[in-house]
């Protein structure tokens, strides 16, 4: 995936773990935005309001 199938050594590890870390931060921000936009409506729906 992303052309990193054969990434080995310290440089390869930096790239692979870098991709994982960037994905984690992007997902945190992306889901955070979604939570801010949809969270209150979802909580109200769960409360039965």
């Amino acid at each position: 995936m992303f052309g990193l199938e054969n990434a080995t050594g310290v440089e390869g590890a930096v790239l692979v773990i870098g991709v994982v870390l960037v994905e984690a931060v992007l997902l945190y921000l992306g889901y955070g935005l979604l939570e801010r936009l949809l969270g209150p409506a979802l909580v109200d729906a769960l409360r039965g309001d």
Binding site: M1, F2, L4, N6, A7, T8, G9, V10, G12, A13, V14, V16, I17, V19, V20, L21, E23, A24, V25, L27, Y28, Y31, G32, E35, V43, L46, R47, G48, D49
Partner: protein, 341 residues
């Protein structure tokens, strides 16, 4: 149909599995590699790929869960750094003990027995104390001072040893630096000896031995996993063992689950958290025992039974967390506000 050269059905399966694991990870501060690695091995991945990808996934999920707990004020960085220092030293000594047992040819048996005993023992203890404790529990507010009645007796004893320097922790707790390092060393020792991440040891240790409120114990434990998971997955990635086709979709699901799980710690009652955690550990002990028996009598089907128990327990407990959260939200809405006298 494929995406990035991977079947869409496999990506969806991993993403769904990720939501489940993320929920448990965000809620308990443990459970990542405990669930992912055995599942990947049963799916036919090489053990090194399963372990490496599991570690990389745990690292990334702990980053997300820690950021979320930080937003809720549930990470004690000072305690986290001290725990990392003590745990690292403990892991090294634990590894020495493991190598010594390997030399005697007793490592597998001793590690299996200790692992099952520890999982089951902590599970029984937590479930028993939570059920016996009834309602109440420590405040969900991480900034609030911990009520003396809610601090476990062992933690009170440890806090009473006032060997300077004394450290002030979140929740208004004061503990000797040496006591924190001692607890961290002991948890690291077990973690290194058993070859596991140690979230299931560290989280209860922070609460029962140091007296840290449960939500802060979870957040601080996750903060520590960022470092242990990061270093571990980096070392495996050097050998090219981390498979991104596993990690990327798993993470997409777990990022959502971890958010929900972390948010649920602020909604669900403390004693319920402890009961769920205890039940998870008890079923985990049963699953590990079944797997070990399978290896002993050479019955591969028991490996599958073990995985079904683990996944069943995970699905059951995460479902219970979601139901409890929704019930709590609805109870808050329906509870009438008392008029002032």
């Amino acid at each position: 149909m494929e995406l990035f050269g991977v079947a869409l059905s496999l990506l969806a399966l991993f993403a769904g599995f990720g939501v489940l694991i993320g929920l448990l990870f965000g809620f308990f501060g443990m459970g990542g590699s405990f669930l992912v690695t055995p599942a990947l091995i049963v799916m036919g991945y090489d053990t090194s790929v399963a372990v490496a990808s599991g570690l990389a996934f745990v690292f990334a999920t702990s980053v997300i869960a820690t950021l979320k707990h930080r937003d809720l004020g549930q990470v004690d960085y000072k305690l986290g750094v001290l725990m990392i220092a003590g745990t690292t030293a403990g892991i090294e000594v634990g590894k020495i003990g493991l190598h010594w047992l390997e030399g005697l040819g007793l490592a597998n048996t001793v590690v299996s027995v200790v692992y099952i005993g520890l999982l089951g023992g902590i599970g029984v203890f937590i479930t028993y104390t939570a059920v016996r404790g009834g309602g109440g529990g420590i405040s969900h507010d991480a900034e609030a001072e911990a009520d003396a009645d809610d601090i476990p007796e062992i933690a009170k004893t440890i806090q009473s040893y006032r060997v300077p320097p004394m450290m002030r922790l979140r929740g208004g707790i004061r503990v000797s630096l040496w006591m924190i390092l001692g607890v961290a060393f002991a948890t690291g020792l077990l973690s290194g000896f058993l070859g596991v991440g140690g979230g299931f040891i560290r989280m209860p240790a922070l609460f029962y031995l140091i007296g840290v409120p449960v939500p802060i114990a979870v957040g601080t434990d996750l903060f520590e996993i960022v470092f242990s998971g990061g270093i571990g997955s980096f070392l495996y990635a050097i050998d090219g063992a981390v498979d991104l086709t596993i990690v990327v979709p798993l993470l997409a699901g777990s990022a959502l689950g971890a958010r929900l799980g972390a948010a649920a710690t602020s909604i669900v009652d403390e004693d319920e958290i402890k009961v769920y955690f205890g039940v998870m550990l008890l079923l985990g002990a049963v699953a590990v025992a079944v797997r070990e028996i399978g290896g002993l009598i050479d019955a591969p089907v028991l490996q599958l039974v073990s995985l079904v128990i683990i996944l069943g327990a995970a699905a059951l407990v995460s479902g219970a967390v979601v139901v409890s959260s929704v019930r709590q939200l609805r109870a808050e809405t329906t509870t009438p506000t008392r008029a002032p006298d």
